[in-house]
């Protein structure tokens, strides 16, 4: 990559969460000089609120390109996890041994079956799944209550430790020479000749390329460079319990058992604006649901409950956008920072570095799709 001496960096990435860190690793691997400008320790961070699923089923039923993209990401994951472990020594506990989404209400079954069928269609019939009734489900997972109607199952689903993933990505960034700056929240960006100028309260950065991976802040920040990125927060509350003897190695959308043995229980979907707080009624509801599915968990102690804000685009599908007005400015927004991490570090990084070349699939994810 040609480097102008007037640039501090080839690429500045705004945001050091799962998305920003993954993209940074990929871009740095291409040889570019990269800086990551991250917010403060107590800023909103969807990356610290993630459930940790590497999830394919149910994604993109109504958006074929998303279904395909997600499958591609899941297929990259094993290789990506091994690469991260080799480079950093961090074991992110990736398990891709299948995933279940329980059908809790009568209407869930048909809606779910439809979704699964559509995703399979979009993948040309390659997506593997099963709809399991109660008996079949209990053959897979004996601890499930007899009251549960069943579940959708796909062997393509899995889970990972999202916090260790973030840690591994940060370590990888360091190993690749990425200049990671904590507490450098970006408040404005502009063009200055050939360079982008990214302003933080601790200094301005000149770069040839800028990639916005700043979660909910993308909407305000990207506006500076002519990109309209519509986003809304959607709160999810999560519970995590003390360690319990292992009984669940596959992932489920409602409960998963981490590598340490604790149970992660999720989650809610609340439209409450920029409010991360937990509420008593959701906490009790989540606990009730977990015990309904797995009655043997009644004695298990809650370790902590927290809320995080998902980054939701209007259709729930990621935005991969490049600015027409200001070539070299990119925006990446999604709520599946874990599932798509492998893709972000590879395909998306390549798309960013390749300039005007197109990845045929990614065109569908431009923010232009929201223009009326």
């Amino acid at each position: 990559m040609p480097v102008h001496s007037s640039f501090d960096y080839d690429t500045v990435i705004v945001g050091g969460g799962l998305v920003g860190a993954a993209v940074a690793c990929g871009v740095a691997q291409s040889g570019a000089r990269v800086a990551v400008l991250d917010g403060g320790d107590r800023d909103f961070r969807a990356s610290r609120g993630n459930f940790g699923l590497v999830w394919v089923q149910g994604k993109g039923a109504d958006f074929p390109a998303y279904a395909q993209l997600t499958r591609r990401a899941a297929q990259h994951w094993r290789d990506f996890a091994d690469e991260l472990q080799d480079a950093t020594g961090v074991d992110i506990a990736l398990q891709q041994t299948g995933g279940y989404d329980f059908c809790l209400e009568p209407q869930d079954w048909d809606a779910r079956a439809r979704e699964m069928r559509l995703v399979a269609e979009h993948s040309g019939g390659e997506f593997e799944y099963q709809m399991l009734d109660c008996d079949e489900l209990r053959r897979h997972i004996p601890e499930v209550s007899r009251e549960i109607l069943g579940a959708s199952y796909s062997p393509e689903d899995g889970h990972v430790n999202p916090l260790y993933l973030l840690r591994a990505l940060h370590q990888r960034m360091a190993g690749l020479g990425v200049d990671y700056r904590a507490d450098h929240r970006v408040h404005a960006s502009r063009r200055d000749g050939a360079a982008f100028v990214i302003d933080t309260r601790r200094g301005s950065f000149h770069c040839e390329r800028v990639v916005y991976c700043a979660g909910l802040s993308n909407q305000a920040l990207c506006g500076d460079l002519g990109m309209s990125i519509p986003l809304n927060p959607l709160r999810g509350q999560l519970l995590i319990t003390d360690r319990v003897p292992r009984f669940l190695s596959a992932a489920t959308l409602q409960v998963r058992q981490t590598a340490e043995g604790s149970l992660q229980i999720g989650d809610s979907h609340e439209d409450v604006g920029l409010d991360e707080s937990t509420t008593l009624d959701v906490i009790t509801r989540l606990a009730r649901r977990a015990v309904r599915i797995f009655p043997h968990l009644a004695q298990v102690r809650l370790n902590r409950a927290w809320g995080a804000l998902r980054i939701m685009t209007p259709d729930g599908v990621p935005i991969y956008h490049r600015s027409e007005e200001h070539p070299g400015a990119y925006a990446v927004s999604c709520h599946s920072g874990v599932t798509l991490a492998a893709l972000h570090a590879r395909d998306i990084a390549r798309w960013i570095c390749a300039g005007p070349l197109e990845d045929p699939l990614l065109g569908a994810f431009s923010a232009d799709r929201f223009d009326v």
């Binding site: 050091g16 991250d38 917010g39 403060g40 320790d41 107590r42 610290r48 916090l163 260790y164 973030l166 840690r167 940060h170 370590q171 360091a174 990671y180 700056r181 904590a182 507490d183 601790r202 519970l239 995590i240 319990t241 003390d242 340490e260 229980i265 707080s277 937990t278 509420t279 008593l280 906490i283 009790t284 606990a287 009730r288 977990a290 015990v291 309904r292 968990l297 009644a298 004695q299 298990v300 102690r301 809650l302 370790n303 902590r304 409950a305 927290w306």
Partner: protein, 465 residues
């Protein structure tokens, strides 16, 4: 809209909680007091009216004073719920409790958090070993179980409570192997400038001198300005080693009791979203409060040691101020009467607090001592070492919350109570001078244990619709 269950919920039945609740209840406020223990009194007056001790005077006059406080409390017109732990509190006054094993929720118009203090963690290599306990634990065993060590313990650390424990043990006939005091000399000179003000609380000074001379008379080996503490042993503690006056020392002992001051228990106020700030003089976080103890969240107050370390007498007085203000804001106490009653409370409180700047300064922990060596366990629950945290800090990790996410430090059952201070120190001392001060962890519920089954089965008895 839910009708509140109570106009005032007081969390904690120590001196501050008992005072606040009674002051409000006597003015017609509908009050409930929730406390985790079986009896009122908090930690300082624990078991004072239900003592297993044959001779309660062994604990001293100050402890005995609590008896009449507890007895009047028991007769006050309020609902007292013992064996009740508060695991959830939010800014709307909604409270999640485990009441004798059952989960339920309550809503209060006003909440006074009077949950007291905890001992400041004193981490050093081996502090997690079986046989190492806190001085506070020693006092609790004496007060609630009439138990004392059967082999001579070593007491280590710094602060008035360490000496108080030694004095109480002597009165109970317990032999003390040694006192390993870590108080640093350089603190003394700066403490002396607070001495004139401390004279206003000369009774405290006098009591302090009495403790010291009793300990001296008992000829207990007393090591001063000790440093580099380390506890040794495999399955159990076998010895403590340390450095004193340039020499390495080692004392064989199966029981070590630690103390390094007390700090407010901040979890409830932080969970309710109250603003807090670092108090450099007391080297701890404190909730930001107005003159009546009200926090940045309307209707949520903090009183007693939970608001700032001041001791039992100051807590009893501070609790009254919060109670008066709650009654006033509920329209049950006119402003003029509130102010008249508050005035005498405030001047008495000021007198008791006059000793604090001197004590805080005398027992100040030096910069070099706030950070233990690399091999120390910062997080006892998840067994994360100081070394691991330091490495993250050097890599530019953004602060304690990021470090918590990366290492699990602070994710164990103690919810960061014993590792938070260490983590903050590590991240506050970044290489880059322009780094802002690190904050503290975000506090998450549950603040006390609750099971999934309790949550699932908890009946919302008080809410309709």
């Amino acid at each position: 809209m839910t009708t509140p269950d109570y106009q005032l919920l007081v969390i904690g039945a120590g001196p501050a909680g008992m005072a606040a609740a009674q002051v409000a209840a006597h003015r017609g406020v509908k009050v409930a007091v929730l406390d985790e223990q079986l009896h009122p009194g908090g930690q300082i007056y624990r078991n004072v009216d239900a003592s297993p001790l044959a001779d309660i005077s062994v604990l001293g006059k100050d402890y005995l004073h609590g008896r009449q406080l507890v007895q009047t409390f028991r007769h006050a017109p309020l609902d007292y719920l013992a064996s009740c732990s508060v695991w959830y509190l939010d800014r709307s006054g909604e409270v999640g409790i485990v009441d004798n094993g059952r989960h339920r929720s309550l809503v209060a118009q006003n909440v006074i958090i009077a949950c007291g203090a905890q001992e400041r963690p004193m981490p050093f290599p081996g502090w997690e070993k079986a046989g190492v306990m806190t001085a506070g634990a020693g006092q609790i065993l004496m007060k609630s179980a009439a138990m004392v060590p059967d082999e001579a313990p070593v007491l280590a650390g710094s602060g008035p409570l360490l000496l108080l424990l030694a004095w109480q043990y002597l009165r109970a006939g317990v032999k003390i192997r040694a006192i390993v005091e870590t108080t640093q000399r350089q603190a003394r000179w700066s403490a002396l400038r607070h001495f004139p003000r401390a004279l206003a609380a000369s009774d405290y000074l006098f009591k302090g001198l009495q403790l010291v001379s009793a300990i001296r008379r008992a000829r207990i080996p007393w090591y001063r300005q000790a440093s580099e503490l380390s506890a040794e042993g495999d399955e159990r503690l076998q010895a403590i080693s340390f450095r004193c006056k340039g020499r390495q020392q080692r004392i064989a002992t199966p029981l070590l009791m630690l103390h390094q001051g007390v700090i407010p228990s901040l979890q409830l106020a932080a969970a309710a979203g109250c603003d807090d700030r670092w108090n450099e003089g007391q080297q701890c976080w404190q909730t930001q409060l107005d003159d009546w103890g009200e926090s940045s969240q309307p209707g949520i107050y903090v009183a007693g040691d939970a608001a700032g370390i001041g001791g039992a007498r100051a807590a009893w007085l501070g609790g009254q101020l919060a109670g008066l203000q709650v009654a006033h804001k509920l329209g049950m106490l006119a402003q003029e009467q509130r102010d008249v009653q508050a005035q005498s409370v405030r001047s008495a409180c000021d007198r008791h607090l006059a000793i604090r700047p001197f004590l805080d300064s005398w027992y100040r922990i030096g910069e070099d001592r706030l950070l233990p060596p690399d091999e120390t366990l910062a997080c006892r629950c998840e067994e994360v070492t100081v070394a691991e945290l330091r490495a993250l800090s050097r890599q530019g990790c953004s602060g304690p919350n990021q470090a918590k996410a990366f290492t699990r430090c602070g994710m164990g059952p103690c919810q960061g109570r014993f590792c938070g201070a260490t983590m903050e120190q590590i991240f506050a001392r970044q290489a880059a001078p322009d780094r802002p001060a690190a904050g503290h962890f975000t506090v998450r519920p549950p603040l006390k244990p609750v099971t999934l089954g309790q949550l699932a089965g908890g009946a919302d008895q008080t809410h309709e619709g």
